[in-house]
Symmetry: C2
Subunit: 252 residues, 2 copies
């Protein structure tokens, strides 16, 4: 790990070139402006930012606030670093598709290069109740046009996970499973539908939502006129994490 504070742009350029050739991770802080050209294009006017170049050739430009980077490139960039007329230009180029990010600094506050070792595993957990909340926050997780009208609705055989109306006005009953859904889940859903048929004349749809179905369950669903929608708990966790801090009650 090596660090330079307030280097000249020439010192920073030499430092970055060496670090890139050694595939080190680099942190660069200074006053910069950014131009992106590739799939679409963007322009960022001058300001003080934190730039991260990772050991896989991905790049992130972070403003002092906001959790999202203002510019970024995925892994696999090639880097061109040079100084021209007192300006340090770091250019990250990808070939397929052809695109480039140009980051230009007139002043560098800090540059640090490091070799980091990280083999730690990451595990993300979402419960069925998390999946339920995710669908209420973003009903398109189920399907376009779906409007939830209740959650944990009491029906005769128990509680329906999510209950709503599809874009054609049909009632929709959703049964959620966070793991592979088996025959039990299909039968449970069928029970709810059977009960609802006795209390409404409206057209009904039953949807089993789970990351995947156990063997043979698709056949059961089809024979019962029920549907399956694949949904990963991980995707739900991400939706929840990104969602604004609204309460469940706000949706009803």
């Amino acid at each position: 790990m090596a660090t330079l504070e307030n280097p000249s742009v020439e010192e920073a350029a030499e430092f970055i070139k060496a670090a890139v050739s050694e595939h080190k991770a680099i942190i660069l802080v200074g006053n910069c402006w950014v131009n992106y050209k590739g799939r679409a294009s963007s322009k960022l006017e001058p300001g003080e930012r934190i730039v991260m170049i990772k050991d896989d050739g991905s790049v992130l430009v972070h403003r002092p606030s906001g959790y999202e980077p203002v510019n970024w490139q995925p892994a696999g960039c090639m880097f061109q670093t040079r100084v021209k007329e007192g300006i340090l230009h770091v250019r990250a180029v990808r070939r397929k598709p052809s695109e480039s990010v140009n980051i230009s600094f007139d002043c560098v506050f800090l540059v640090s290069a490091m070799r980091l070792i990280d083999r730690g595993e990451f595990s993300l957990h979402a419960s069925e109740s998390d999946m339920q909340r995710a669908i209420l926050v973003d009903p398109t997780l189920l399907e376009e046009g779906f409007k939830p009208i209740a959650y944990e609705k009491k029906v005769e055989p128990g509680f329906v996970d999510v209950y709503g109306v599809d874009r054609e006005g049909r009632l929709v009953v959703v049964e959620l499973k966070r793991r592979t859904a088996g025959k039990d889940a299909a039968m449970q859903l069928e029970k709810y539908i059977d009960f609802l048929k006795t209390v409404t004349n409206r057209e009904l749809r039953g949807i089993l939502v789970a990351p995947r179905l156990a063997k043979g369950v698709q056949t059961i669903l089809t024979s019962l006129g029920l549907e399956f929608k694949a949904l990963e708990p991980k995707r739900c966790a991400e939706v929840l994490h990104r969602s604004e801090s609204r309460k469940l009650e706000d949706f009803f």
Copy 2:
């Protein structure tokens, strides 16, 4: 801007406390593990990472590779920093919804705190051709179940932007505009539909895709039996930027 290299966990803790109270941005590099609990939960095993705390109280944990953070929190976190049995714990807490990220370090390589000023404007540009490519990459931008079958299809009055089939098997003709769509765009789409009616008996849908409609254009669309789908060029640019490096030809 202040930086400590290889501080003890106690030195790092004091440094971070002071920087947080002054609402400075902080970069922290070291060996750490992370636990998140809130909307869903996650666990990250030990490894060497770069942690960024921004001046608005957002937090990012970055592994040495991959452009996405492995853990993150949006703006508005409160921070609790303490050392217990030789371990530095930085806890970022949000109240609404209640969630917390605990980052624990047994070794700190670098900690840097800075006050950055950034008022630079960011502008992102996507052309109609970018929007077209984005829909081919992710057809759900148009609607769930849409399957593109051609792009820039030649029909009598000119070229259709995107041409495909919806989930009910109806033919779909899409006219794209990157700015407010006016009467012209509606009439252009109607021309394509009129022509296609002369060559096919299949049911046809015409969808005008644009960020918004000019005044009165919704009425025209409705009277012609055409539809409108709101789509921001910015959203298309993001989809393209995130998409893997596949060629347009791969979709046909």
